[in-house]
């Protein structure tokens, strides 16, 4: 290796310290929030003078929080299903298809990832106003689908590119019709990619806030929007409790995605 880590001498310790500092910088705010959610100070004093579960009790006692969480979950699950199905179909075309403009199409599919979310949000908002989709469940799902699809397409095209089409041909010669071969052989064989696509799509919707703020109506609010609006009205540790739960679920899904990724590369 050009840069042998063991031979860097003093520089090695500088690098290690830097890494620890960056990690702390990333993790501390989250730990801070978690600590506050269990602290008994109404005024978010840190370090908390004592510990309590009151804020979680308040959180669960308020049906509006539950409603927001349920809305978030319904939207995220719908987005997940649509994103995986559409992502799979798009990926088959992108990986297996031989047509002009394939690379261009791939670039277009990945556009929402590089486009600033605010611009996307404004554009979708204007469009949905026209279509009468603003503030509707369908509007939410479509808006989140736009940002979830690129993740789904990346995960599934990667898995599909690692799958030899000759295996599918073998299944067909074994007597399976082309769709049966895909259903019984190709899709199970790329299931790690499908799961990764599902998890990333869910997360893309679950903790999305910019589009959600534009789409939200008094009747329909996702959890991140509820956190945001509550925050603007009054600073209560209940927000810390809600955030902790959000982070918790995200963490679980990330670990799951990581596991799947590792099993694939093994």
């Amino acid at each position: 290796m050009l840069l042998d880590f063991g031979k860097l001498g003093i520089l090695k310790w500088v690098l290690i310290t830097l890494c620890i500092l960056v990690a702390l910088f990333l993790i501390l705010p989250i730990l801070f929030i978690v600590a506050l959610s269990f602290g008994d100070s109404r005024w978010l004093i840190f370090p908390p003078p004592g510990w309590t579960l009151d804020w979680y009790r308040d959180l669960f006692a308020d049906p509006r929080w539950f409603e927001a969480a349920w809305t978030s979950a319904r939207i995220a699950l719908s987005v997940t299903v649509l994103s995986v199905v559409l992502g799979l179909l798009a990926s088959i075309a992108l990986v297996r298809g031989r047509f002009r403009g394939r690379e261009l199409l791939r670039a277009i599919f990945l556009m929402p990832m590089i486009l600033p979310v605010v611009i996307l949000a404004v554009a979708l908002y204007i469009l949905f106003l026209r279509l009468g989709l603003d503030g509707s469940f369908a509007g939410f799902v479509i808006a989140h689908l736009v940002i979830a699809l690129p993740f789904s397409i990346i995960a599934i095209t990667n898995a599909l590119e690692g799958f030899d089409p000759a295996i599918e041909q073998a299944a067909i010669l074994c007597g399976a019709s082309p769709w049966e071969a895909r259903w019984r052989v190709t899709f199970p064989a790329i299931s790690h990619g499908l799961f990764a696509a599902a998890i990333f799509s869910f997360l893309a919707s679950w903790d999305e806030v910019v589009l959600a703020i534009f789409m939200a109506s008094p009747m329909l609010q996702t959890l991140p929007v509820k956190v945001y609006t509550t925050l603007r009205q009054d600073l209560t540790p209940v927000i810390a409790a809600a955030s902790t739960l959000l982070v918790g679920l995200t963490l679980v899904l990330m670990i799951l995605a990581n596991r799947l990724g590792r099993r694939r590369s093994a």
């Binding site: 000759a166 041909q169 007597g175 019709s177 052989v185 199970p188 064989a189």
Partner: protein, 362 residues
């Protein structure tokens, strides 16, 4: 008249400007082991893929027992195939891989279990049912693929260079297995390879492919003793070719004037030739003599030893003629000169007229 078991008739396939195969014409008997042998890109796989139904030919027909199969989709052709690359279903166990064609055909479980066991025993992998493909060696994976392709008793089994990813020793071992399986099952096999030794070892008959066409079809012995074209002569056996000019023609034989003025007498001609035409003299490495003395006039040439390669049971000698054309001579282990030759030795090559051929040039 009874139609041939499998008849490939005037097949032609192009990919844009590329002609992959052309005029492919072949009849295969039931139970025959037919090998497509030819260099890479000569259209062997294309022909096989048309048989499998993954490609449609531009023109031509394929008839199995007299009935065209071109209109039948791949999954209804009931043909077995082993691919060059490993194609076991990665998420299924070995047993489920082999069971797959039977499950698709909705056979009862008891019959599936019985057939899967029998197929795995046929490829000597009994007891491997629970293993996952990733835990198998390349050779084992190809044997499972073979079991999967045979478990539903297809009338025809296609194999596209199934052993090309394996090392030589393992390859020979599985070649032997394939022969045994062919004997035991009696299945008709169409086998693709670019390895002449593999083709000779396995096949009843060999079709030599070159640039999308079949140059000659015959048993290994026929191809070796009477190659129809220069290409076949070159491909089967490591023949040497010496340039010459036809000096005289007598029936199907000719006298050839070689580069140093030597006259090679009464050489069998492969195509009609006339005096003055250029022709090539084909010499088989194991059918020519290497000797310190010249042979009878018109059947020998002086050479200079250029390179000696000891290969265990045989020794290959590359010698140069007076006009610097290389000739390969193969000596058996017991040959009196074996082990005594060095670069720079001056010797004679000798041949019997009936063991050499002349190919007139166009």
């Amino acid at each position: 008249m009874i139609p041939p078991f499998l008849h490939i008739n005037g097949l032609r396939k192009t990919y844009g400007p590329v002609v992959a195969t052309e005029h492919v014409e072949l009849s295969i008997k039931e139970g025959e082991f037919m090998t497509f042998l030819g260099p890479s890109g000569s259209g062997k796989s294309t022909t096989l893929y048309i048989l499998a139904g993954f490609q449609d030919p531009d023109t031509g027909d394929i008839r199995l027992r007299g009935r065209s199969i071109l209109g039948v989709p791949s999954h209804k052709r009931n043909i077995g195939m082993v691919f060059q690359r490993y194609t076991l279903f990665p998420h299924l166990s070995v047993g489920e891989n082999v069971a797959f064609p039977l499950r698709v055909r909705r056979l009862p479980q008891a019959e599936i279990t019985r057939k899967v066991r029998r197929a795995l025993e046929l490829v000597r992998l009994g007891g491997f049912e629970e293993r996952k493909p990733a835990s198998l060696s390349g050779g084992q994976q190809q044997r499972v693929a073979l079991a999967r392709a045979l478990v539903y008793d297809p009338p025809v089994l296609l194999m596209d260079e199934p052993l090309s990813a394996l090392d030589k020793k393992l390859r020979e071992e599985i070649q032997y297995e394939i022969r045994r399986i062919h004997r035991e099952t009696g299945v008709t096999i169409l086998y693709v390879t670019h390895d002449q030794e593999e083709a000779l070892r396995l096949s009843d008959r060999i079709a030599i492919f070159n640039a999308g066409r079949i140059e000659q079809v015959g048993t290994g012995a026929e191809l070796y003793t009477s190659p129809a074209t220069h290409f076949v002569a070159d491909f089967i056996g490591d023949s040497s070719f010496l340039d010459g000019t036809i000096a005289a023609v007598e029936g199907r034989c000719a006298d050839l004037r070689l580069g140093d003025g030597t006259l090679a007498r009464r050489i069998p001609l492969h195509a009609p030739g006339r005096p003055g035409q250029r022709a090539e003299l084909m010499l088989r490495p194991e059918r020519i003599e290497l000797s310190p003395d010249p042979g009878p006039d018109g059947a020998s040439l002086p050479v200079l030893v250029q390179d000696v390669t000891f290969l265990g049971n045989i020794t290959d000698v590359v010698a140069l003629t007076a006009w610097n054309a290389p000739v390969t001579v193969r000596l058996g282990f017991m040959h009196p000169l074996s082990g005594r030759l060095t670069r720079g030795d001056r010797l004679w090559i000798r041949w019997a007229a009936e063991t050499v051929h002349a190919f007139p040039r166009d």
